[in-house]
């Protein structure tokens, strides 16, 4: 187990060093949440077309936009994996005796850390728009944990797709195809209650729903979780473990 953690930490360390050297991606990824919150959120706050109880719509959607920002960023993580394949970096990693699950987990943890930085950017935008944020330690830790696990889930999902499609062109197409359905089939910008039954059934199988639910319960004043933290985190961790196992199985196929 210690050796496994050591190998994972080695991969995470390398990934984080690369991220620190090139923070431009983080800034460019901040543009979308700014637009969603500042434009879409502000406008829909005035329309009052979506029932959000006592919450302002902007407050209601802020956790959803944070989750969306995590999803959109992590789902394209696979592009970097395909790039590493094309450069031969994957081959080099795979001939080491390091466990495949450790290599994949190390990358997921790096994506989780990147998600935390991204969450900080979304928080800055939310503060600027006077979103009612909870600043108590426990909710903050809950948000951080949800962001971390959510990033791990979607980056590993992305890695699985990369292992299957293997080319950047195909990956871009599939990435685009997946992000919007995942986003709209979730409770990110409207409550589950107002969804038609078929969409609510799909949303129940969408890990983004549980990420948003955990964030909504912890991030904003007056927000509450529909499923409860135990269920949301339990399902997210289960999904992550399943994806991790699948990714560890498929990752060696990138070198073929």
């Amino acid at each position: 187990m210690l050796a496994w953690l050591y190998e994972s930490a080695a991969v995470t360390d390398a990934e984080v060093r690369k991220l620190r050297r090139d923070p431009t991606e983080l800034l460019s990824r901040a543009v979308q949440p700014v637009l969603w919150l500042a434009v879409f959120g502000q406008v829909f706050s005035h329309v009052r077309g979506i029932p959000t109880g006592s919450l302002r719509y902007l407050d209601y959607m802020a956790p959803g936009i944070l989750a969306q920002s995590i999803l959109f960023s992590a789902i394209f993580y696979g592009i970097a994996i395909i790039w590493e394949r094309d450069l031969g970096i994957v081959h080099k990693l795979l001939v080491t005796p390091a466990r495949r699950s450790a290599l994949v987990f190390g990358k997921a943890v790096a994506a989780g850390l990147r998600g935390l930085v991204q969450a900080a950017v979304v928080y800055l935008v939310a503060i600027a728009l006077h979103v009612a944020i909870r600043w108590e330690p426990l909710p903050m830790v809950t948000v951080a944990a949800a962001v971390f696990v959510g990033s791990c889930i979607f980056s590993t999902f992305s890695l699985v797709i990369a292992c299957i499609v293997k080319t950047r062109e195909r990956f871009m197409g599939i990435g685009q195809l997946l992000t919007m359905p995942l986003f709209f089939a979730s409770n990110a910008i409207y409550p589950l209650d107002i969804m038609p039954d078929w969409l609510r059934a799909i949303a129940a199988f969408n890990p983004l729903t549980y990420l948003v639910d955990a964030l909504r319960g912890a991030m904003i004043v007056g927000g509450h979780s529909v499923y409860g933290d135990a269920t949301s985190f339990g399902i997210m961790l289960l999904v992550f473990l399943l994806l991790l196992a699948l990714a560890a199985k498929l990752y060696p196929g990138l070198a073929r």
Partner: protein, 270 residues
């Protein structure tokens, strides 16, 4: 399974690989003695890279058997990986990391830690002649520097066997010779067995103790360079040997992905 014959580093018996209906490797049987520099030659698509990928556990054979350092590549891949180093044809050093960071990552994945890790990283930097640029990003290096770094990375854990896939493709003559010197140094100082694939006849002549020429996935011939030249004719060089045994119309050989890979590597090496 421990090796029964300690003098053999690599052995394959009827090793085959099929991709759908294409046979990339067809019943390859060969053995490489410990301490040898062994060359695999052949046109693009001859099965060189497939062979090296099977031997380094990156690819599973369709049939047949291969042992590396005495361990079966299919049944005991982890034991094989502990004992080998691999330099792919593609440039595998990460340009977004420094030389030290690239080496440290590899060292950690090979299980080195603490003082031993630091010592080996310093030794590797010295071996590669990169001490003065240890903290510079690899994307600023020349092609020769990157290749030397990759050889150093692949040998951090002092493997018994080093595999190199087209190690000097795209390098200028000076950089090429520097890589050759490092390989010979590894063989002499550590008794390392080295298997390289190459298109370069001069490289094969200078470096290799023994050569195997593959053609269309099959072993065309195996032997020492001088013996092979003698088989072809009194004035023959390795290019003649290559043409003679590989069926020769080299310019008509190859396949899209292999050529794209080679060109990509050459382009990245500048």
């Amino acid at each position: 399974m421990a090796a029964t014959n300690n003098s053999i580093a690599i052995a394959t018996v009827d090793l085959s690989k099929r991709f759908n209906h294409v046979t990339a490797l067809d019943r390859l049987t060969l053995s490489v003695a410990r301490g040898q520099i062994f060359g695999l030659l052949g046109p693009n698509g001859a099965g060189k890279s497939t062979t090296i990928k099977i031997l380094t556990t990156l690819l599973e054979a369709s049939s047949g058997r291969a042992t590396v350092a005495g361990f079966d590549v299919a049944a005991e891949p982890i034991e094989v990986r502990r004992r080998i180093g691999y330099v792919p044809q593609l440039l595998s050093a990460d340009g977004a990391l420094t030389a030290t960071e690239n080496l440290t990552l590899s060292a950690r994945l090979y299980g080195l830690h603490g003082a031993r890790l630091k010592t080996r990283v310093h030794e590797a930097l010295a071996f590669a002649g990169l001490d003065t640029v240890a903290h510079k990003l690899v994307r600023t290096f020349s092609g020769g520097m990157i290749r030397r770094l990759e050889v150093a990375q692949a040998t951090l854990h002092t493997p018994e066997i080093l595999f190199l896939d087209e190690p000097t493709i795209g390098l200028d003559p000076v950089a090429r010779r520097t890589v050759w010197e490092r390989l010979q140094q590894l063989r002499h100082s550590q008794g390392m067995t080295i298997l390289i694939t190459t298109h370069d006849m001069e490289e094969a002549d200078v470096l290799c103790d023994e050569l195997a020429i593959l053609h269309q996935g099959r072993l065309a011939v195996i032997g020492q360079p001088d013996a092979l030249k003698a088989q072809v004719g009194p004035q023959a060089d390795l290019a003649d040997v290559f043409a003679h045994f590989s069926g020769a119309v080299i310019e008509q050989e190859g396949y899209y992905r292999g050529i794209r890979q080679s060109r990509g590597t050459i382009q990245r090496l500048g």
